[in-house]
Amino acid sequence: MAEKVELWRWTESRWTNPDLDWKGKVITSGVDVGSVSSQAVILADGKLYAYSNMRTGSDSPDSAMKAINWAMEDTGLTLKDLVYTVGTGYGRVNVPFSQRAITEIACHARGGNYMYGPSVRTILDMGGQDCKAIHCDEKGKVTNFLMNDKCAAGTGRGMEVFADLLGVSINDVGALSLDIDEEPTPVSSTCVVYAKTEATGLLREGWPKNKVLAAYCSAMAHRIMTLLERIGVEEDFAITGGIAKNIGVITRLEKEVGVTIMKTDKYDTQIAGALGAALFAKALHDKGKK
């Protein structure tokens, strides 16, 4: 029997820094077990050495193990080499090899600061099942934050539902949604369940897929804007998480906010939380040494 194509399945990734040799260095790691995705980041002397980004399974400890093992793959590293590990994310207390758990808010600010530099003051993390707007200082310390973790509207999971409904790979949603002649009216339903019904109606009316996607991407951008309006956007403004890869949402959000959004193709934007956790691990290890 042919397996059903899972269109929501985003591309998992793994990376090793080719210019770095970990041997003889202090190895710390951060593991972010989210509700949808899990990441592991390994630092050598506080520098990014390797990372992995994969889908969370039904079991948090198992997902944490899989993520770290994949990050260590072909590097010669083993769990014994990790001197300090910090767990973060929704399953942060379920990282079996970690010494500490730190909230994902703190970790995202720290990771965002490393990824985008000390000028970042607002980080929008668009995760699988939540969305956080974080203000931080030049050291990546959280000064204020606001989050939605109650409702799927404006989260990656909502986008997955749409990719599935329209039969489009989640990786292509953004680009397809920009391939339109004129910006359609955004989907009016807030709730993802009702937005699905609304989209089905639009398809029946004869709207092409890209137009429906455009309507949903702009609804999502609008939804996130209402969160941002409540906390305010201080420049520089950066986005982390899976939706940061969706050019359809980002372009429309940029228009709504009226501020340029910092972008990176150096790292997978989903690793910010695990990266922050690994940086905390390094700092905690150094503190313990003193």
Binding site: Q129, C151, V192, V193
Partner: protein, 259 residues
């Protein structure tokens, strides 16, 4: 006097025909995608059952989310107004009415004539509407009409963390992995939904005579959870899904309490 009430809900279209304030016919048709055609079908069905012609109807009132899509009507009336009118007709003591439909949840307080004093509506979020139980019965692979009785067999109270329907779907999947029984999951679903409805109703307050209407009132599991949450026994009239249409027909007849 013959009057017709039509309630065009998100999922079903209900029609009630009254003759001198007595129900002589009712019909219920799935709205589908061609709402106008389904509405016509519902009306034709009810007319046939009543044995009357369209010309015999003195007045028609349309209500519900799709009220403007009815093939003909003299007036429209808000669904909250129709609900409370219908509830007071069926239970003269009713002063609080809860309506849980396919895509909306409503709480109302009214006087003895069925006139609205205060109301609260949730039309934004599926978590407080029939769409929630529908999605959950799909996730549990249980027929919608079976999920209610099933939850009465629950042996344990398991809290549901997710409020959002989409997130609750994933939570049910992890409950399945954790070998939670279907009955216990069904109860978790109804408890979660009842708590959403209760928090909406608490905003406007309620009296002891609470009438529960709308299609979801047919779900015994939900009613059980709601009773526990509200700390009273709600009154579920026979055919609770017709109460909105009944109220519309009563309004068309100018009924204002008393028999």
């Amino acid at each position: 006097m013959i009057t017709l009430g039509i309630d065009l809900g998100a999922k079903n279209i209900k029609v009630v025909i009254l003759k001198d304030n007595k129900i002589i016919a009712k019909s219920n048709v799935l709205a589908g995608f061609e709402v106008d055609k389904s509405a016509q079908q519902a009306i034709d069905k009810a007319l046939k059952e009543a044995g009357v012609k369209k010309e015999d109807i003195d007045k028609t009132i349309s209500t519900g989310a799709g009220e403007k899509l009815a093939p003909f009507y003299d007036e429209t009336k808000s669904i909250v107004g129709c609900d409370s009118l219908g509830a007071v007709y069926l239970h003269p003591a009713a002063r609080s009415v809860i309506d849980v439909g396919a895509e909306e949840g409503r709480g109302m307080r009214c006087d003895e004539t069925g006139k609205i004093i205060d109301f609260e509506v949730n039309e934004k979020c599926a978590a407080g509407a029939g769409a929630f139980t529908e999605a959950m019965s799909r996730a549990l692979e249980v027929k919608l009409e079976e999920i209610g009785p099933l939850s009465l067999k629950a042996t344990e109270e398991i809290p549901m963390n997710a409020q959002c329907t989409v997130f609750a779907e994933s939570e049910v999947v992890s409950m399945v992995h954790n070998k939670v029984s279907k009955a216990n999951m069904a109860k978790a679903v109804h408890d979660a939904m009842a708590s959403r409805i209760t928090s909406m109703v608490r905003k406007i307050g309620f009296n002891k005579d609470v009438v529960l209407v709308g299609g979801v009132a047919n779900n015994v599991g939900f009613v059980d959870s709601l009773n526990k949450d509200l700390g009273l026994e709600v009154i579920v009239p026979k055919d609770p899904e017709y109460v909105g249409a009944l109220g519309a027909a009563l309004a068309a007849a100018g009924w204002k309490g008393g028999k």
